[in-house]
Symmetry: C2
Subunit: 435 residues, 2 copies
Amino acid sequence: MAIHKDDVIRLDIDDIPTKWYNIAADLPVPLPPPLHPGTMQPATAEDLSAIFPPSIVRQEMSTDRYIDIPEEVRDAYVALNRPAPLCRARRLEQYLKTPAKIYFKREDLSPGGSHKPNSAIPQTYFNMIDGTEHLTTETGAGQWGSALSLSCAHFGLDCKVFMVRVSYDQKPFRRLIMETYGGKVYASPSKETEYGRKLLAEDPDNPGSLGIAISEAIETCVHQENTKYALGSVANHVMIHQTIIGEEVIKQLEFIDEVPDYMIACAGGGSNLAGFSFPMLRKKIKGEIDTEFIAVEPSSVPSLTKGEYRYDFGDTAGMTPLFKMYTLGHDFIPSSIHAGGLRYHGMAPAVSLAKNLGYINAVSYDQHETFNAAVTFARTEGIIPAPESSHAIKAAMDKALEAKKTGEEKVIVFNLSGHGLLDMGGYSKYLHNEI
Amino acid sequence: MAIHKDDVIRLDIDDIPTKWYNIAADLPVPLPPPLHPGTMQPATAEDLSAIFPPSIVRQEMSTDRYIDIPEEVRDAYVALNRPAPLCRARRLEQYLKTPAKIYFKREDLSPGGSHKPNSAIPQTYFNMIDGTEHLTTETGAGQWGSALSLSCAHFGLDCKVFMVRVSYDQKPFRRLIMETYGGKVYASPSKETEYGRKLLAEDPDNPGSLGIAISEAIETCVHQENTKYALGSVANHVMIHQTIIGEEVIKQLEFIDEVPDYMIACAGGGSNLAGFSFPMLRKKIKGEIDTEFIAVEPSSVPSLTKGEYRYDFGDTAGMTPLFKMYTLGHDFIPSSIHAGGLRYHGMAPAVSLAKNLGYINAVSYDQHETFNAAVTFARTEGIIPAPESSHAIKAAMDKALEAKKTGEEKVIVFNLSGHGLLDMGGYSKYLHNEI
């Protein structure tokens, strides 16, 4: 097998996109606004200003098609390994004996190991220019907390991360990565907040939840000087930032003169799917292409495939605004699958609307199937994928096998949203036949 | 701070070097040959053929200046992320307030997370074309075993790794990475070999050692059909393969028109130092440049700074050939520092000779100092370095601070040999003031 030059499609640093894309400008119906949990009325800029800085509030409410990426953010993207290569999975194709061409975007190469810094960097930057000195956030498995700690180190802000206690105890490496970047990490529920102290008084062994951690992060943000809150998914400004992925992919596919038949990404809160897909989805909305967009989710957390499209709380405790989204209900308890980033009851409103309008299809797989695909990918392409990204790999492999049956040279592009080097516990269970 | 285009110096895929460099052709005295442990005579090609395939034996004994890199190996290098960028550590420079320019080579971006695949790939390839079906090796912390498992998956060979039992138990992630790539990993001493069974009969709780693991790998290689042994450092063919690093660096420095004042790498067995330095060292031997080459080692394992230059066994048990090298004695027991890759009593003969001839200087640091440098690097440059690589970072920072005192615009280039994502246990101890 010879490597063709087109097997690794890189962009020059000068080619890094200068604008993010906002799908709110192109969807045929407006993005339903979040509702204030107290009044059930659309949240106002003033409501949002309690937790976000003015620049982020403007982005969150924007319907502009393109938003300029500040030079300092582009510089930070470059410093943290952007542009990211688009690679052809030629060895995987040969293993599958498929006539399809499989490409994947490498979001695993960032120092955080995932796509999460794509939004952590601009959120931190805009907070910095708006005068924020401290950021708070919550994290489950730790990908988002790592990305925000890294970004805060980059722009010189303080970072407090409330990490779900069970993950804090079970995933010490992720916590240590945040601490190495200078983030302060608290097991949630913590003694740092009134809400945390109340919960600990009731049950000192409370294992925590993302909902509790969100509440603690927001309480800290509201009570501490010069402090704002940063969110890793769901909100539209996060989707916008992540389109740096898809804007690069468009340039890369143009360079090799390919139009994808399928664009595939895993979907938890929706940020990597939106970032990867939306710039290309714009062409579909405009009728220029016929690409099928596929969201892949765990069959045990099937928000897009089995959820209802309605307003629901963003968190478990019911303290955040309500979002119009596909949801399993905010009291849904996801099973403890290893793809921690996909354990979310809802889905970003922008992704949900695109799905509801028929622009995105959704499929689901169980984790035995996705780990099987992950190991095949590792042995053929040499990269150990994140359990989350393995959902996209499995769907891409299935489409490649369909193409083998029909003999069609389909073009399949998927997003490798992160690496799995800190998720080897899940691989262990798969390799030893425990899942 | 604006990113200058020269802050990330990438090479085109077509620019990947076509030849490895062999310093044996240019050192003013011949490389002292290994001695057979039984006869104490120079090991012959026939001796080496018991464990290495003919292509590797030829390379090991070669004095040719350049050795062609087969196209299949170059393709595999590209598939596994080569060429590697050379980056300017501008934020670290600003943090140190130094007029020096600091550059680092990114060997952390390989799927194995270190420079080790640079030799694992060609060793596996040459074994494949010479008809080997199975490879055996030993691994301590697991970097080399991961690289060889990955390469065996790439070229379709079986891989057996004997992993020091204490690491097998303490570093399950590294073991799982090997297993994900399809490698078979045995805690050493194991029941797979006569030697292992003998040791286990004497002491079922034997924690193992690299020396024992080497013995088991070699016994398996000798007794099993179509099986050879692969070595991750010390031998000259490994140094040769690793020069892919330094040949790239030469092109990258030429592109930005810089001549380094210092080239710095950590040194355990010597492979990343040799690979990074030797192509440039050739220019020094020829009198073309005045660069200072610096090997950095742990003060607790000071082979180059405090060892003797003499023949000694490569392993602890005294079963391998004897090498002329700087050694602390093969019975030296390194303290259990976190930079596992630097816990070796000896040093590659080629590196030792270059040091003995005055071409390379050596310095040592303790692990508190190197972790301190590592955390500074993570917070400025966003990358969590391997504990081994942090030794080079510390030396680079010290040279940059010297330049600050003298006001000189020194050019410092160091090798970032790997990332530290699987070494967070060491970071934990540092961050919590335990080392």
